[in-house]
Amino acid sequence: MTGLLVNDRDIVFPGQVLAESIEFLPGEDVIREKEQLISTKIGIASINGRFVKLVPLTGPYIPKRDDIVIGKVVGIGLNGWRLDIGWAFEANLNLKDATSDFIEKGADLTKYFDYGDYLMTGISNVISTRIIDLTMKAPGLKKLGEGQIIKVGSTKVPRIIGKQGSMITMIKDYTGCRISVGQNGVVWINGDSPEKEHLAIRSIRKIEAESHINGLTDRMKEFLEQEKK
C-alpha cells in the first residue's frame, strides 16, 4: 500500500499528515481530512495493517466506562459524594453505589467517606462530559488508608501497570510496598519503610520518563536489582 508517510513507532505531532491515501483508516486520535490522515496529538504512530492510530505521549485523563480510578472526596451532598478524578468536572458517587448499609435520611455521610479521603472507585457510567457515575461495588474497590499519593500522566498508566500487571507486580515484589494505580494517573503507595516507598516512587517516575523507549521492562529490572543492593 502506498501513501503512508510515517513509519511504525515514529514520534508524530498534532497536525502532521500520517498518510495520504483512501486505503488507510483513522484509528484513535487520528482524523481524516479528505484523503489525508492527520494526527491530533503528540504521540507515537502505531500502524496495524490498514489502521493508523497513535499512542499519545501526553494529555489529560478522559473518563471511560469501567475504568478504575482513584478519586478524592471534594463534596458531600444529600444522596452521595462528589469526587475529583482529575477530569474537568467532578464525578458522582451515589449512596446506593457506595455501600450496602441502610442509611437513614439525613444521616452524617462523613462517617463513611469524609472530605479529603481517597477512594478506589470504578466508573459505572459516563452519561455526558459533565455527568460521570462512580461505583464502589466491585472487588478491590475501597477507601484507601494511610500512604503517599503521587500523580503521573494518565497516558503513562498502561506502561506503569505493564502487560497483565507485570511491571507493577515487579515493583511491588522488589520494594514490598502496597501500590494502587488508578487509570486517571493517581498512584497510592504504602510501604514498611520510607526507603522502600522512595524506591517505589523513583521506579514509577523512571517509567513515566522513559515509557516511550524500547526495552523498558529489562531496564526496570536492572534498576530495581541495582537499587536493592
Partner: protein
C-alpha cells in the same frame, strides 16, 4: 489536605526523615543561573528541587523621595501566576505574593544589600530606581528561599543601561557599570511542623506548616530581618533554635551564589 497524606507525612517527620529521604535540615539540589532573561538589565533563575523561580531587574529614573533626597530606591514585586501552581489564581497579587515581596524587600533593604546613596544621580532631582520582579515558574515548595536567592542574584547580575544628558534611558544599550553591593543578605526560611523544625519543605509539607520564620542573614552571620508566618505561635526556645538553624543553613545558600 487529605487526612491520609497528612498522617503519613507527619509519621515520616517523627522518624526524622521525609518522603524524598532528606534529613530535616537538608536542602534539595540548588542551581543558580545568572542572566536568564535577555531583555532585563539583570536576571537570575534559581531551582531548588522542582521549585523554579525567575527574577529580573529593570532600572528607571525617578525623582528622589523628599525625606531621602540623596538616595535611590528599590521596589520588589512578586507575581504568583496560575501556571506555576494549581493553588494560584489569576488577578491582582494575593496576600502570599505581597508577603513574599515585602519579606524579600525587607531583607535586601535592612540588610544593606545596596548602597542607596550610590543610586543618586542628582540630589533632589534624579535617582535610579531598581525594580525587582519575581516570577515563580513552578512552585514545588519553599518559594521564599528560592525567590530571595533569585532576587539577590539578579541585583548582583544587573548592569546599568545607557543614559543621555537629559536622563533618558536607552534600554537597548548597557554599560559595564554594576550596582555596588554592600552586604549580601540572604533569606532562609525555617518551618515548624508538629514540633519538628525543618528547612526547604515540599509543597505537601508546606501545607502542614504550623509556623514559619524567614530570617535575613548577613555574610558574617548577623541576623538582619525577621518575619513570622503561619497560624500557630512559637516558644522562645523554638524561635532561638529556628534562628540558629537559619544562620547555619544560610551558609549553604551563600555557597551557591559564589559558584
Amino acid at each position: 489536605m487529605s487526612d491520609i497524606v497528612r498522617k503519613h507525612t507527619l509519621k515520616l517527620l517523627e522518624q526524622n526523615t521525609r518522603s524524598d529521604l532528606r534529613k530535616l535540615d537538608e536542602y534539595r539540589t540548588i542551581t543558580l543561573e545568572y542572566g536568564a532573561v535577555g531583555g532585563a538589565e539583570g536576571s537570575a533563575r534559581v531551582k531548588i528541587g522542582d521549585t523554579d523561580v525567575l527574577a529580573g531587574v529593570k532600572f528607571e529614573v525617578g525623582k528622589p523621595f523628599p525625606d531621602t533626597p540623596d538616595q535611590g530606591s528599590i521596589m520588589v514585586n512578586a507575581e504568583l501566576r496560575p501556571m506555576s501552581s494549581p493553588d494560584f489564581e489569576p488577578g491582582p497579587p494575593n496576600i502570599k505574593a505581597i508577603e513574599m515581596a515585602r519579606v524579600i524587600d525587607r531583607a535586601l533593604r535592612e540588610g544593606g544589600a545596596i548602597d542607596f546613596k550610590k543610586l543618586c544621580i542628582k540630589e533632589g532631582e534624579a535617582m535610579w530606581m531598581v525594580i525587582v520582579d519575581i516570577y515563580p515558574i513552578n512552585d514545588a515548595g519553599n518559594l521564599f528561599d528560592a525567590a530571595s536567592l533569585a532576587a539577590l542574584a539578579a541585583i548582583k547580575d544587573a548592569k546599568f543601561p545607557k543614559m543621555d544628558a537629559q536622563n533618558k534611558i536607552d534600554y537597548h544599550e548597557s554599560t559595564n557599570k554594576k550596582i555596588e553591593m554592600g552586604t549580601m543578605p540572604l533569606s532562609c526560611t525555617i518551618y515548624n511542623i508538629g514540633g519538628k523544625i525543618i528547612v526547604d519543605p515540599t509543597s505537601q509539607e508546606e501545607e502542614l506548616c504550623d509556623a514559619r520564620i524567614t530570617v535575613g542573614v548577613l555574610e558574617n552571620g548577623t541576623m538582619s530581618s525577621l518575619q513570622k508566618g503561619g497560624e500557630y505561635g512559637l516558644t522562645i526556645d523554638q524561635v532561638n533554635e529556628m534562628v540558629d538553624v537559619a544562620i547555619k543553613k544560610s551558609k549553604d545558600l551563600r555557597k551557591v551564589m559564589q559558584k
